[in-house]
Amino acid sequence: MNQARIGAWIATILGALYFVVPLIGTFEFSLRMRRGEYSFDAYRVVFGDPQFQATFAYSTLQALATIVVGVLLVVPTAYWIQLRLPKLRPVVEFITLMPLVIPAIVIVFGYIRLYNSSSILPMTASARATDLLLTFSYVTLALPYMYRAVDTGLRAIDVRTLTEAAENLGAGWPTILFKVILPNVRSAILSGAFLTFAVVIGEFTMASLLNRPAFGPYLQNIGANRAYEPSALAIIAFVVTWACMGLINVFGRGKQIKAAP
């Protein structure tokens, strides 16, 4: 046992080194804005920019919307596939891998052609409708991660027995899905939610071409011509995103503790 624990500690420390040291490198560079001494000037510039708060808030809202739509779309699908339609699994898995390989720029140009102001679904005509289109495009982008996470989570529980037990107790399928299955794949959904959140916050191509005020285009804009601010921004974005995920984590886990009898 002790050997295992030493091994675990070694793995964790090496992992921590690998992930933290490049961040330290970025942080050290971001402090160099004032000539000859370390200072937080780059951070002052970034925080003083009202665009930073506006775009970050917008992207956070989009991320939360994407997570909700994604979960509602993926969990029932993965459930039904696992339970009743295993032959469809290869098709669904292939579909969910596509967004990784098809360049986002092709997808969004497709949206503009299909859903522009002169089509039957004029989604680009108003700002709110374009926001909705952007949410759907984010759901598409996050599909690989969300599906894989939920699928892995569903494999780890005995879906068939749970369903049959619930049915025997008289539950209809909405109850089964939301009160029996969902709580059991909570940790998988949380993983998917984290991945989705990170994807949406940093996403650039779709937000930029659909012309919405998201964080990704803002990051790119700052990064294009400045030396020190992009590093500061990277660190700030990292820390704030991490905090948001911590909140999602607390929120998600908190409910679980209350639900257990």
Binding site: T12, G25, R84, V101, A149, F197, P230, W242
Partner: protein
Amino acid sequence: MAQDIQTSPKPAGISLETSQKSWAWIGVSPFFIFALLFLILPTLDLMIGAFQDAQGGFTLQNLANLNTPSIKSAYWISLKVSVASALTGALFGFLLAYAVVLGGLPQWLRPTLMTFSGVASNFAGLPLAFAFIATLGRVGLVTVLLREFAGFDLYRTGFNLLSFWGLTLTYLYFQIPLMILIITPALDGLKREWREASEILGASRLQYWRHVALPILWPSILGTTLLLFANAFGAVATAYALTGSSLNIVTILLYAQIRGDVLHDQNLGYALALGMILITGVSNGAYIWLRSRSERWLR
């Protein structure tokens, strides 16, 4: 409808199955409608475009044009980087996830690792490339510190960040967290009872892993490795920012054709993307075959 089935005695098994199956079809239809509207239709343009020339007529020339040495070598390098980062990412990610979930470490490490992995999994592109340049580049923080305090010149050993292995190392920064996040729920599903049962029956740790745990986890590990492969295969921003003009990978070529200042043969770009989709399809097929072999005993 399900409740009707409960109160009356079960009818012939076949009609129960099929009625539940039809509920299942309705249940998955939102997904398929969504996929159709927001994924398949927009990319039909791409599929069709791969077979068109600049004027819109049908041609196989774009596919024929894929047969140049530079494009073939681009596919080859893309494959190599993707496989390398997928395999190493899966391995290290699995070890790290195992260490934190089942390694007997303090409780607070798990949520920290999960949330950190969430952020790191999308820390890619120019910020990531620059972070590694600023750390392991020729005048990077670690390089300089090693030279000054340990007298160790990293670059004299032949290490070069701006190389194939440097790029793989950088890719690991988002591959490992992706593996961790997705495999952890599966590790949660390894019941402690199985471990105890195998110990009671006299199995060693190695036997437990070889005969119980790994077979159970194998489909998930395979599936996630495939995801890592596709993730690396489609990545462009990091490679571009790190090894920009010296590395020839498909995604950079693709972007150069579709959005470049100069090249701009869009249909060739579509043909390149079609090639990428085919490769992903083939690897997906291989994964399904491998998984079905390992799943035979699970059902």
